[in-house]
Subunit: 369 residues, 2 copies
């Protein structure tokens, strides 16, 4: 299957780093939060190998921020998520599933607590801003909600610390996972967090003010030369190996966090005020009827997974695969799927209906990396 062309328009927003991405020879994009997100530079496999061995700069400006500011910011944040946020200190990040009143997931962002009365929510692919604004309005909360001019840029890969220390000094090496610090770049404060959408380690830089986009891009590119830095992007193969779920691919608003192994972020006994708490209490009691699973698909490389592939056991539908790719490192097709409780035991052999015909798919205990 050859990828079709993407027609560009202002509606699919460019980012402060798009000029750099184009200069680096981006081959394909996806669209994420109405914004361009690079998906391939050389090839999926070459990008994958390089990410695991060197260091890459990723334009993830499409992780738009929803900013909450004001006396009710903390209260609103807790209304949005079943994760108990009372213990979270300023300077910390937290992965927070966002649920509606039925417990269905509306997004799975990272919340950045800048201060008691100021938060950023770094969102996955849905207009979470609309939900948050609607809730704030309907509940008459004393809070401002908007999308600020903040564009994340990620530095990912085993040499990320070396590159970052070159630009921001050795202090950046001391950042612990999901903590952030403020670092200077050309006289401006940048929030820099140890986080990112890969298992190779690295940072996310929250650039405030798009005017410094290309200076930041080139500064990182220049500093990374000794470690063969390249422009990169979230890599399909690497994220499946690592079990990094993708909202819209692997789960939607039809799914509760319990179906996505996010029960550790559901404090249904203490997250007082969470809108979806009552619905999730029910799920917590009964348990989910389906759950995300790692699956190994037999045979040679599968085609691109651009739609749900049904999972069957005999004649019975028991789930679906939502992401799949050939893994060079593990020599098999790695996949993510949603599987019914009756068939989710590790080792269960199922059939997956790919567009090129049925294949054997085996449920795994855990992801690969």
């Amino acid at each position: 299957m050859t990828a079709p062309r993407l027609s560009l328009s202002r509606r699919l927003r460019r980012t402060p780093f798009s000029d750099g991405v184009e200069a680096a020879g981006v081959k394909a994009y996806t669209v994420y939060n109405h914004m361009l997100l690079p998906s391939v530079f050389r090839s999926l496999e070459e990008d994958y190998r390089h990410l695991k061995e060197a260091v890459q700069i990723w334009d993830v400006a499409c992780e738009r921020q929803v900013e909450l500011r004001g006396p009710d910011a903390g209260r609103l944040m807790q209304m949005l998520t079943p994760r108990d946020l009372r213990g979270l200190l300023p300077g910390r990040c937290a992965y927070v599933p966002i649920v509606d009143e039925t417990g269905g997931m509306l997004n799975d962002p990272v919340a950045v607590k800048l201060a008691e009365d100021r938060w950023w929510i770094s969102i996955a692919d849905s207009d979470l801003l609309y939900w948050v604004k609607g809730i704030a309005h309907g509940w008459r909360l004393d809070v401002l909600v908007d999308e600020p001019d903040v564009s994340p840029l990620a530095v990912q890969g085993p040499r990320a610390d070396d590159l970052m220390a070159e630009v921001f000094g050795d202090g950046v090496r001391d950042l612990r996972f999901f903590r952030f610090g403020r670092f200077d770049f050309m006289g401006r404060d940048l929030v820099v967090a140890r986080s990112g959408y890969s298992k190779q380690g690295g940072f996310e830089l929250y650039l405030e003010g798009c005017d410094l986009g290309m200076p930041l891009w080139y500064a990182l590119m220049e500093a990374g030369r000794p470690w063969d830095v390249r422009a990169g992007c979230p890599n399909l193969i690497e994220r499946i190996e690592g079990g990094l779920l993708s909202y819209g691919n692997d789960m939607t608003d039809d799914n509760t966090p319990y179906e996505c192994w996010l029960e550790r972020f559901c404090n249904t006994d203490s997250a007082i005020g969470c809108i979806g708490r009552d619905a999730l209490l029910r799920v917590a009691k009964d348990g989910p009827v389906q759950k995300i699973r790692a699956l190994e698909i037999a045979g040679g490389p599968v085609p691109g997974c651009d739609r749900w592939w049904p999972l069957t056991a005999g004649e019975q539908g028991v789930g679906r695969v939502s992401s799949a790719a050939w893994s060079p490192d593990f020599g098999t097709n790695v996949a993510i799927g949603m599987v019914r409780v009756t068939h989710w035991a590790p080792g269960t052999e199922l059939t997956v209906q790919t567009p090129e015909g049925p294949r054997v798919a085996v449920v795994r205990e855990r992801f690969w990396a």
Copy 2:
């Protein structure tokens, strides 16, 4: 500028008509409401010519529906828009700007009033569902809000009536603009409205249940043979000539309806309950400081407009162009832009900064078609 590739994934949803679109040789897509929207079949110019002379079937399933159902459906609908909906009867459609509490536009959909307690909102490109759900929850309204399994398909072009009569009988010819009727297709009721995102006339069919997608597609294709029917899609050139605005391109949540010539849909004196009414009263009194304008750009064909092009008068920034294309029929570059009050008089000569350098742009009294 060659269009880049689009990486397909489940997150960019296929539609019930995607198999037909692919069989028809779609060359490029855009992404709209997390869904594939075809943008080119043969070429922009060939598609344009054919749309104006024959008839096309458009996969516009990406016009997702937000369904409101229940005792408070009508009240909620009025909270969303400054258009006074009291006189709207079941069986009618209405273009309804949706605004937030500041009067900023969140979407510009068509509302379909199925019954007093049941509405569909046929949305432009933003997750309006999230705003509506948030408002319904925060205000404790007695209403169900969700995205139903409804996929619009459009039949557009001068021969649309002939084609539709072939499939649904001559009764379909009597539908008036923005009215809908129910017509049978393979034993299922279809809502068929005289509407669509072109100036060439035609219909939109609201398919309930994606299983009938391809049968409907092929039935229309088969019936249209005498009139050289083809797969088509909203055409950039034709929509600019006709002044059809595109949410996300020509206006965003930064703009009020008054900036978009939608003041006739802002009944600020009578739309009681509209969330943005107070803010819009202020704008109605003062008038907007900028407004959408048709602009003619001098010289040969402009490049693709994938970002805002600044409009200047001397050194002064006075607006921006958001959509532009070469029009074969009018022999000029047609464009849509937002222009400050000081420079929006018809005939005003401005400079537009395209990526290929400055050009003369003249403000027009009205659009071309």
